[in-house]
Every structure is written in structure tokens, then in C-alpha cells.
Symmetry: C2
Subunit: 505 residues, 2 copies
Amino acid sequence: MRMRRHLTVTFLFSVTLLCSAQQSKPPALNDAVRAYIAQHRQDILREFEEFLAIPNVASDRDNIQKNAEALSSMLKKRGLQVQLLSVENAPPVVLAAFPADSSKHTVTFYAHYDGQPVNKAEWKQDPWQPTLTSRSGTGPSANIDDPEARIYARSAGDDKNSIIELLAALDALQWSRIPPSVNLKFFFEGEEEAGSPHLATILQQYPLALRSDLWVICDGPANQNGDPQLVFGSRGVITLQLTAFGPNRPLHSGHYGNWAPNPIIELAQLVARMRTTDGEITIPHFNDPVRPMTVAEQNALKNIPNVDQQLRVEMALGRIEGHGTLAEQIMKPGLNLDRIEGGGSGPNPTNSIPSWATAYIDFRLVPNQTPEIVKQQVEDFLRVQGYFLANRPPTAEERLQHPRLLQVVWGAGYPPQRTAMEQPISQAFIAAAKTVTGNSLVLLPTLGGSTPSFLFEQQFNKPVIGLPTANYDDNQHAANENLKLKNLWDGIALFAGVFGKLEWK
Amino acid sequence: MRMRRHLTVTFLFSVTLLCSAQQSKPPALNDAVRAYIAQHRQDILREFEEFLAIPNVASDRDNIQKNAEALSSMLKKRGLQVQLLSVENAPPVVLAAFPADSSKHTVTFYAHYDGQPVNKAEWKQDPWQPTLTSRSGTGPSANIDDPEARIYARSAGDDKNSIIELLAALDALQWSRIPPSVNLKFFFEGEEEAGSPHLATILQQYPLALRSDLWVICDGPANQNGDPQLVFGSRGVITLQLTAFGPNRPLHSGHYGNWAPNPIIELAQLVARMRTTDGEITIPHFNDPVRPMTVAEQNALKNIPNVDQQLRVEMALGRIEGHGTLAEQIMKPGLNLDRIEGGGSGPNPTNSIPSWATAYIDFRLVPNQTPEIVKQQVEDFLRVQGYFLANRPPTAEERLQHPRLLQVVWGAGYPPQRTAMEQPISQAFIAAAKTVTGNSLVLLPTLGGSTPSFLFEQQFNKPVIGLPTANYDDNQHAANENLKLKNLWDGIALFAGVFGKLEWK
């Protein structure tokens, strides 16, 4: 099949070269890759759909193994050497590389082949029966030439799309007889959506196989305005459950109200002292570790397209928090209140004082904050408010003993990570990407969300850059996840450009 | 059966009279009544159990009708004239009276025969299969002579107990040949637990039948220390649902956190500005209409037993709100937060910015506050905070248009009610009750909870006094509702004393 593919596009390829000669720009690589894509849409899509059809929840070990095997065979077919990096009770990392040329730098592209769990009832189709939908129809009547067409399936945008784009970019270069400018490695994780519980162990266990000068994280969305973007870091995260206590059984709010303490009001008062409705965190010293933006980061920020008005209309937001654009706001730390539990559920609250209430909070961190610093600051703050802090459910005696008592449960945390945009390797990467995107490339100093990118930086002390390609409205993590075909084709072109043009001293 | 009952206790009655003659105190009425009770425990309990066995949720119209019929026949058997007061779609009020003596005052005793809905799964038994439990065992092995024994059934404590006590008190007086000192009427409602939606209409519709000089509300618990109590009013209530809005779909708290407004934090900030953790309401001017306590109320407050330490241990409370005792605190207005909904449910919050959040609040009011004044004060406060108030779910356009937007839903409200303790009728009632209780009688200026007592006051401009007799720990409104037998016997004695001794000019 690969042979036939090469033969059928030779004519088109020649025509493209002719065109590019007449215009001098864009350079030959791009034209060749675009020609390859135009010619091979059906094949690329078929491979994508076959890959998407394998269920891929990390806890579903049989199917996750099938994904790893399919991926291995897709990689071997392209001449890559494949190694499964395993630790006990973890889906394998599929590592692939071409034989290395020691005169070149080595760049490893990270993506993940597992997907979020699904609630099939919420989907319009089976999440593992990929379905193409265009303006002309769904399935057989969909138009593959429509760049606005979308393929619906779990992991269509998060993150099997990146894997297919990387492999198709390899094919396009091979077909165009353009050699990569760096040694290429691919690192495909199988439990990112389960929180990457074994990633650190795997990185520690295979230092030689994972030697690399740069890590590229291929996960996440392109800019909301549709432009491609590079991401130089991500916010850290740490979750917190705060439980306050009232009477040991719910009490009638008439007979005991404003005498027995109300635990939801305790939490409301605490949250109100921790964070304004403008997003500003008022925990003392919280912002002290935040380092100022560099000049390069400030410049990048200025050039980020302002999508605020578009998003405000789309999301029906009458205001935004703080005084900055979305891009500026996510450069700051965040405190989000996910939920306050307590007081029961059901249609009719009973006018009771609840027995307990739990606030679910998540903090987002920026350099140089760390989860450890935040934990200390928050616990100090709570103690100054007069609270005794317990790390397990308190006994009746402890509830009676402590006038103000909280159970504090911290979740696992990620520190923030940010790669310096000024350094030569970052500048080289930007330049390589721009050979494909021109000046439409958005440079984001920090992704709002949190990724395990810090693990690569911590373990290997090498730079990490993000190259996300999905449409931002891909229903990531939700029902009816999808990828816009335009993003698939653009992603292939962008990866091919980086493969062929990335060079630094 | 009534004949046999009279005959069998004649001997005991004579013995009792003999004893009372020797000691001069307590007066003969009490001894006769106590003797009657001691002799008729089985009969009283049998009538109570038969009445409790009829399911009595107000919306269960067939069974509620059976309750009304059973009650009518229980009343007629005692020589009372019975009238069913009906309005469309409402369970009937069962009104009963003896032929009136125009030289005497008329006193109407209110109770309700309906009960709260049940969740049978939470009960140890069928809620309509009354079960007696004493230290010696349950059912047939229970000891009826154990005053700590409890009868478990829906409405055992709220409020069929009051009805049985009133009827048994009548029996005791008839048996003792002591005539009531006032004309007695009984008003038994069938939808109190459904919020008394037709009570006002019924009061308006039957003014002649309901003519009375005093209303006595027989509903609620005795003091927490076990002492009997009279209640001269109740706090009003008004419920409020406040809904704040975030993005029109939940958003990733990393990618959009501290940019898209978080509606739970909006509510936390509002609640924190409305109410301290010490129960103080900080809505401007909220307390302005609160009238000072009278001298009689202040004196009564001083004499209320302090049950705080007992309750704090029982409820595992490390502190109480405010700086007063429970009795003092419920003389003040209250703001209770029942629940904050929003952010989904289930074991794992998704680190999202919720699309909406609703705070369920209930206010408790004291004289001279009214639901109307509170509504105005709260809405003024919210507007000053910058909020546009909607009375229905806002459209996307409205969400976009108003930077700060709340949906405000007020529930039905009760104003507070308080009868002056200084007036002769109140003093006469206290004196009559004290012939039974001695100085252990607690005088409560206001019940913490809310009752429809204001309706009687408003409609008839006559005083209303509460005489509650259930044990405070009767699991009212919850599973395994119960009445302690001691409270049943004491209730009968107390009602009989009031029937026989209440007199005023």
C-alpha cells in the first residue's frame, strides 16, 4: 500500500514543485507536505479511525495493551525501532526511535494513547466507533474535503490525533525525500488521563533510552482563534478538601439556628477571605514566590490574539474576573472552588444546620510557586483564622475539644513548569514552526492547565516545549469529543516542518 | 368499655383523695388525674397506637380521610360535637366542642393529625406500625410502667401525641367529675406538615365556629432538660434561593480559572457579607425592626434552664455561635445556609468552574420583623453589591448583559408571633399550668422554630400560647420518630390541669 501511494502522487508533487518555484515562498518542504496530505487524506483518516476504534481507558488493561500493540506495529511499519517501557501495574510507554546520527541533536515527542473514561449515555454514538460529520452529512455522506468536518470519538482530540499527525508527518517527509534535521524519538504514554501515576518512575528507570536534548509535549488545543501555538510551560496544580463540622446530626435551623455553628457558613467565610470575586488570592504572602515575567514572555503575551470577546459571547459571560485578558490571567496563580458538599441533596432542603461541609478547591500555580509552599501558606492562614487542623475525620471528643476545627486533605500536586523563551533552543523551535505557520504562530508562556511537563524537566534537566494541535472546542474529557479535520491536516504540516527544519547550535 | 374503666378505678381514686387530704398539696385535681393515668395506661396506649397505625401524610388523601374519620369518632365517643371544616383540595380540619356555657371563656386547643413524609428504608420498623420499646425489650416484652419507654411511629411526637393527651385529659376530668373551668374547643389540622397551605382560608371561612378567647398550640417539644414549658411565640421564617451564574458550560479550571467567574465563590462572598460565623446578620438595617424584649420576657429568659453544656456534649459542638445561651440566641433573628448546590456530584470533582450555583438560605424572624421587610432589605443589599436580580432563569443574552446577576426565588414566609406574657390571660394560663408543674415550668418567650400561630393571632386578634409536650429528642421529621411515655403521661396531666384550673377575668 505504501508503494502504490508513492506512485500515484508523483505527478501532483511535480506540479507543486513547479508552483513553488514560481512563487519562491512558501518553501518546498511545506508544499511537498501539503501535497502529500491532499493526496493521502483517505489513508491518514483510515489509520486514525482504526486507532480510535480501540477502547483506551487506562484501567481497561486488555484494551490498553491492544492500543500499545497497534501503536508498535504502526511505528515499526515506518522503520522505527520500538521499545515498551514497563513498570509493574502500568500500561507500557511505547518508545520509538530511528537509529541515531550522533552529529545531530535528539528531540523526543510526547503524546498519550489513553483517553478519559466515557459515559456512553451522553454520546451521540459509540465513543469507539469513530464517525466523520461534515456539513454534507454524517458517516458515508460526510465530505472528507471539508476542513470544517469533524471526526467524533474518544481521544479524537486528546490525544490520539497528535500520534497520527506525528506519524503522517514522518510519512510526508519520507515521501518527499526530506530527511529530518534532528534525531527523532517518540514517547507515547498510556495512562496520562489517569494522572500519570507511573511516569516519574518510568523516566527514572530508563535514563539511557530516554536521552534527549529537547522534549516536545504534543497534547492540548491550538489557540481559541484557530491559530497554531507553542506553549512554553504549564501552571502547576494542587487540590485541597476542607471539611468543617457542625452538630453531629443535622439540626432544625429554627430551634438551633444561630446557636449551633453552621459548617457551610464557616467555609463560605474562609473562602471569602482566601479569594475575591476578581480572582485575586488574598492568602497572606501567596504571591510572594511568583517571579516576574521575562521580557520575552511579556512580548509574547502582547502578541497573543485577544479572544476574550469571542469567548465571552460564546460562554455567556457578563464579566470576567480580574483586569487582564484570558492570556494574562492564566499567567497568574488561581484558586478555584469546584464544589461545596454538605446539607444533603434532593429537591427540598430541610432548613437544617448541616453536620459537616466540604469545600473542594484547586489551586493553579505559576513559577516559582510549589505545592509545598502553597500547602504551608494555606495551613498557616487557616491556623491564623483560629482553626485546629486534622488530617483525618475527627472524633466526637476532638469536635468538642476544638472550637474551630477543619479536616484538611491535600491531593497530589504538580509544580508549575516554564521553559525560557529566550534561549537558543526555544528560538530555533519557534523559527522551525514559523516556516510552516508564518507569523500566525502564537507563543504562550504558560498553558492555563496543568501537565506533567515538569517531570521531564526535573528528571532530565532539558527544555520542554508544548506543541498542541487540537481545536479548542474538541469536547476534551467530555462526551462527543472530536477533532476538526483542518486541525488534523495543519498538525501534520506543522510537525513535518519541525522535523525537517529544527536546527540549533 | 368506658363504663368498666370508671368502675375499676373507683377504689384507687378514693385512696388518692385520702392521701391528698393528708398532705393538702398537691391539689386534688392532680392526684385524681395521676390516678386515672396510672389505672388506664393500657387503654390510653391502645387508643394512641390505633391512631398512629393510620398512615397520615397530607398528600395521601384516602388515608388522611381515614384519620379524620377516626378522630371524629374518638371525639364523638366523648360527647363532643364534631364539625369537619373543609375547603377544596384540603384535608378537613376536625373541629370539636362541648355545648358552650356563655358565662365562661372559650379556649381552643390546636394540634395536627398529619405527619411528615417517611423514607421507610431509614426506619427500624414500619413507621405506621407503632412499636413500644423499653429497657426490658421491644413490643410484647416492653414495660409500659417504664417512664423512659418510647413508642416509635410517625407522628408519635409530632403531633398525634398532643391529640391523645388532650382526649385522655378530658377522660381524666370526666372520671374525676371535675368540670372544665372554660369552654373547650379542639381544632385538629390535617396538613400542617405540608405547610398549612389552606389554614388561612379555613380560619377566614368559619369565623363563628372558631370563636375563641384564646388559642393554645399543642405542638413541639418540652424543654431539653425535660421540664414542661409554655411558649409565647415563634420565630417567623422566609426561605431564599440565590443562584449565581458562571460560564454556560462547566470550564476547565486550569485553562479558564481566574478569568471565567466562579459562581460558588460569588455566593461564598455574598454569604460572608450577610452573616458572621457568630450568627450575627450583617445585612444593613436588618436588625432595625427588632423590638426590645419586655421586662417579663427578660425575666422569663433568666429563669430558663441552661441546657447549653448538656447539648454541646450531646452534639459534639466545640463552640456555639454568638455570645448567648441557646434560649437567648433564638430570641434573635437567624440566617441559616442549608446547602450550596452546583459543581455536580459524585466522588471526584473535575476541577471545573461550575456553570451555576444555588445557595439555599432560610431566615428566622423575631418581632417586629416581617417577611416583606426582610425581602426588601436583602434585595437592597444584593443590589448595592452590584447585582441585577432576576426572578426566573436568565437567558444567555441576560447573562451576557449583566456583569453581576442573581436569580432570586423567595419561598412562602411566616411572620414571627409573640404573645405578651404580662397580660392577665397569659398570667392565668401560667398559673393554671403551675398547679400541675410547680416551679419547674419553663416560660419561653419565643420558640426557635416557626409555626402558623401568627395566623390565629392575625385572623382573630386573640392571644396564642404554645403548650408543647413531646420529648425534645423525638426525631421529629426524621426516621424513628418517637414519644417517651413520661412525656405522654405528663402531657395528659398538664392538659387536665389547664382544663380544670384556667380562669381569668
